[in-house]
C-alpha cells in the first residue's frame, strides 16, 4: 500500500510555501462555496484550484486525475440517485417504471449538489496535495486544539508508516504460504494478520514509550519548525 498523496504533499513546488496561507485559502474557499452555493462560483473555484495544483505546484496531471477519479465516480452515483428519487412536481422525463423520473426540482438539486461537491473537493485536493500532515497539525495547534490531541495524532502518523511496512512483510509471508486463496482463507489470513498486528502494536507502543522517556518526554512534543523560504 502506498500513500501517493503523502508523497506528493512532500514533493511539490508549494510544499515549502507558507502553510497558513495554504490552509486559509483552501478552507476559506471551501466554506465560501459551501455557504454561497452558487454554480458560477463552484466552477471558478474548481478552475482556480486546478490551476494552482497543476500550474503552480506542478503536480503531474496523471496523479491529479487519479486523485479526482474515485470521488467523481461517487459523486456521479449519488447525484444520479438524487436525480431520480428526490423530486416533486411534474415529471420532465419519465423512465416508465413505477413513475420514477426526473423533475425540475430534482434536476436542480442534483446539479447544485454535484457542483458543490466538486468545488469543495478540489479545495480539499489543493490542501492535501500541497501540505504535509505535520504542517496541518501545526495549524491545528495555532487554533488552540488541545496539545494532547495533536500529540496523539503526530505519534499516530509516525506509527501508521511503521505498521504499513510490517503489514506488507507479514502479508508477503502469508501469501508465500498459500494464504489469501479463496474467500475463506482470505478471512482467516486477514484475521491472523490483524490479531498479530495488534500485539505487534502493543509491543511497539512500549518501545515507543521507552524511547520517549529516554529523551526526557514530559507530555509534550516540541516540534522543530524550520524557517521556510519564499
Amino acid at each position: 500500500m502506498k500513500f501517493d498523496i503523502d508523497y506528493i504533499a512532500h514533493n511539490n513546488r508549494l510544499s515549502d510555501f507558507n502553510m497558513y496561507v495554504k490552509v486559509i485559502v483552501s478552507i476559506g474557499l471551501m466554506v465560501a462555496t459551501l455557504i454561497l452555493d452558487n454554480l458560477t462560483l463552484d466552477i471558478i473555484v474548481f478552475v482556480l484550484m486546478a490551476i494552482l495544483v497543476l500550474g503552480v505546484a506542478r503536480i503531474s496531471f496523471k496523479s491529479y486525475l487519479k486523485f479526482l477519479t474515485i470521488p467523481i465516480v461517487f459523486a456521479v452515483i449519488t447525484c444520479l440517485f438524487l436525480l431520480f428519487f428526490f423530486g416533486h412536481g411534474p415529471l420532465i422525463y419519465d423512465t416508465g417504471f413505477w413513475g420514477i423520473g426526473i423533475t425540475q426540482s430534482s434536476l436542480d438539486l442534483a446539479v447544485t449538489t454535484f457542483c458543490r461537491c466538486f468545488a469543495c473537493f478540489s479545495c480539499l485536493g489543493f490542501l492535501t496535495l500541497t501540505t504535509p500532515i505535520a504542517d496541518i497539525l501545526q495549524c491545528l495547534h495555532m487554533i488552540k486544539v488541545p496539545v494532547i490531541f495533536i500529540d496523539i495524532a503526530l505519534l499516530m502518523y509516525n506509527t501508521i508508516f511503521i505498521f504499513l511496512d510490517q503489514l506488507s512483510t507479514m502479508r508477503n509471508a502469508q501469501e508465500t504460504r498459500l494464504g489469501y486463496v479463496g474467500s475463506k482463507s482470505t478471512y482467516k489470513s486477514l484475521g491472523m494478520l490483524f490479531s498479530n498486528l495488534f500485539f505487534r502494536s502493543l509491543d511497539k507502543s512500549e518501545t515507543l514509550q521507552c524511547s520517549l522517556d529516554s529523551r526526557c518526554y514530559q507530555g509534550y512534543l516540541p516540534v522543530y519548525k524550520p524557517k521556510r523560504g519564499k
Binding site: M1, F3, I5, M30, V31, L34, D37, F67, I70, P71, F74, A75, T78, F81, F86, S106, L109, T113, R116, A119, C120, F121, L124, G125, L127, T128, I133, P146, I148, F149, I152, A153, L154, M156, Y157, N158, T159, I160, I162, F163, L167, T186, Y187, K188, L190, G191, M192, F194, S195, L197, F198, S201, L202, S205, E206, L208, Q209, L212, Y217, G219
Partner: protein, 225 residues
C-alpha cells in the same frame, strides 16, 4: 461509506460539527485524566489509533462481490471504550480525508458522529449488557461489530435524510436506508466475522491483557486457562 466533501448543506455541517466537538471534547477530557495518571498510555492510544487507521484502509472481500473497508470501530469500542474510540476515530477520519481523500473536512463532523460516536457507543452498550448476562465474548464481539456497523449506516441515512428532506424527512431517511441496506447488511456480517477471527487470535495469545484492558470478564479469563 463516508459522506463526501461538500455533500451536506452548510447548516447541517455546522450542526454535526457542534455535536461532534462536544463529545470529542469530553473524550479528550477522559483521555487527559487517564494520561495524567499513567503517562505511558499516550503511546498506547497513538498506536491503537494507527491500528484502527490501518484496519480501515484495507479492503475486505464481501458477499456481493464489491469491496469495502472494515470500519474497526466495533473492535475499538470493545477494547478501549466509546469515549476513547470517539477521539481516535476523529483523528482517523482526519487522516483518511487528508491522506486517502475519503470523506472530507466539511463533513468531518457528520462522519464523526456516525462512525466515531453513535455507532461505537451503541455497540459498546450492547457489549457491556451481554457481558453482564454471561454471553461468551466470541458471540458478543460479532454482535458489537455488526451492530456498530448497522447503527453507523442508520445514522448516516438519518443525516442524509435530514439534509435532503424530499418529499418529507422520514421518507428521505427510508429511501437512503433502503439504498444502503442491500450492500451494507452483507458488509456488516463480513466485518462481524472478521472481528471474531481477530478476537479469537487475541484471546488465544494474550487473554490476560484483554482482561487488563477490561474487555473480558474475570470468569471468562479463568475459563480460558
Amino acid at each position: 461509506m463516508h459522506i463526501m466533501e461538500g455533500f451536506l448543506p452548510p447548516f447541517w455541517c455546522a450542526v454535526w460539527y457542534v455535536i461532534a466537538i462536544i463529545v470529542v471534547a469530553y473524550g479528550l477530557y477522559e483521555i487527559k485524566k487517564v494520561v495524567d495518571e499513567t503517562p505511558e498510555s499516550k503511546a498506547l492510544l497513538a498506536v491503537s489509533g494507527a491500528f484502527m487507521f490501518v484496519i480501515s484502509s484495507l479492503k475486505l472481500p464481501s458477499v456481493t462481490g464489491s469491496c469495502s473497508h472494515p470500519t474497526g470501530n466495533g473492535l475499538g469500542a470493545a477494547l478501549f471504550g466509546p469515549a476513547v474510540t470517539g477521539v481516535l476515530a476523529t483523528i482517523v477520519l482526519i487522516f483518511q480525508a487528508i491522506l486517502l481523500a475519503h470523506g472530507g473536512l466539511t463533513t468531518l463532523g457528520a462522519n464523526c458522529v456516525s462512525m466515531g460516536i453513535v455507532g461505537p457507543f451503541v455497540g459498546w452498550i450492547v457489549y457491556k449488557l451481554l457481558t453482564k448476562a454471561g454471553v461468551p465474548s466470541k458471540i458478543n464481539i460479532f454482535l458489537i461489530a455488526f451492530i456498530a456497523d448497522i447503527v453507523t449506516y442508520i445514522v448516516t441515512a438519518i443525516q442524509l435524510g435530514l439534509a435532503f428532506p424530499e418529499p418529507t424527512t422520514m421518507a428521505a431517511i427510508t429511501k437512503f436506508f433502503l439504498i444502503f441496506a442491500p450492500t451494507q447488511l452483507p458488509l456488516a456480517i463480513a466485518e462481524g466475522l472478521l472481528t471474531v477471527i481477530i478476537w479469537n487470535g487475541l484471546m488465544s495469545y494474550k487473554p490476560k491483557l484483554l482482561n487488563k484492558l477490561g474487555a473480558i470478564s474475570d470468569s471468562e479469563l479463568s475459563k480460558g486457562e
